[in-house]
Point group: C2
Chain length 205, copies 2
């Protein structure tokens, strides 16, 4: 009965297993506290395969980075496309982005942690800082368009985009660090209300 003894333990392609294992380990322990051997064990792969596929530890990190950044980029694109189809406002696009980021923080925690919480410059060389990468510049572009169309106040572009997304990103950090115990989607409504309407009860005049 050979088929009973045959093990089918690893149905996923090998490079996926390596990336998944690396993502989990990097997020859990930090890139520099993870050895190639650790990844190898967790992925059920030999060291040789890792070097064949990715050329080394930094190669894994680079591949992960590009892959996940690309996923985030597609998420932003789909929001923009939907918005174009419905002719919707900059405000609702920003809201949708924050909503999804909060959702993913709970459901795809390690992806968000790797993209938004890791200091890539300490282990990935020759890569632009993530805040200059496509998805983030597209977020700023949405804000800039909102300003141009008179929907948002005419602040400096950086002030505007950090006022809108900075609080959300900070909340993600705090959630990932264990400071915030509540799932972020539960706080979403209050956050966006504060973003658009401000924190002060009365105008300062």
């Amino acid at each position: 009965m050979p088929y009973l003894n045959r093990e089918v333990p690893n149905p996923e392609p090998i490079d996926c297993r390596i990336l998944t294992a690396a993502l989990d380990l990097f997020v859990e322990n930090g890139y520099h506290n993870v050895s190639v051997h650790d990844v190898q064990k967790q992925a059920n792969v030999s060291i040789g395969s890792i070097y064949n596929h990715f050329g080394g530890k930094e190669g894994i990190a680079k591949a992960l980075y590009k892959h996940l950044l690309n996923e985030m980029n597609e998420m932003i694109d789909s929001i923009i496309q939907q918005a174009d189809a419905q002719d919707s406002s900059a405000i609702s696009q920003c809201n949708r982005i924050i909503e999804l980021l909060f959702e993913y923080t709970e459901t795809k925690t390690n992806i968000i942690a790797f993209i938004l919480h890791a200091k890539h410059s300490e282990f990935i060389t020759n890569e632009i800082p993530i805040c200059s990468a496509e998805p983030f510049s597209k977020m700023r572009a949405i804000v800039a368009r909102g300003i141009k169309q008179g929907e948002l106040k005419n602040y400096n572009s950086w002030v505007a985009s950090t006022s809108i997304f900075g609080g959300a990103i900070r909340m993600i950090h705090l959630r990932l660090d264990g400071a915030i115990e509540q799932p972020l989607p539960e706080l979403y409504e209050q956050l966006i209300s504060s973003i658009w309407q401000g924190m002060a009860i009365q105008d300062e005049s």
Copy 2:
């Protein structure tokens, strides 16, 4: 003329030199990319002294961390004390904190970078996350008091504090990553205006 030949190259106490050198190197290259030998060279000290004073690399990081966190704590305290003396509002206390953080980002860059931009959990073990440390909980306390006294909108405590400080912290990150080219103090006025009054031109109703 012995006093002419006598070198006086290192007037600062030795542990200060070590900490200063380590701060610069850690911020520049990241903790894990700095060896004890690097610190030793930059500080003009022998390896033995470093182990005598701090017990090793992590000991240096811990000492730095405590020292700088303490400085930040004193800064917050002084703001609170001044405020109590003048009976000033939560809003003006928050503004003053942001103003000082922006100032220090330009003038004491490495201190801010180490405190706000490094991922301490990757190299300092058995330490509470920085967002739970004293200065940060005091910032949240200021916000909570502002809510209680009817000065700020009654949002969830985390939403309120991240709405107020999240944008500023995000701007500091972006500035340290080189994305924002303008000195932050120049953007201060716009930021606080946006924090208190919100980003939307018309109320969403």
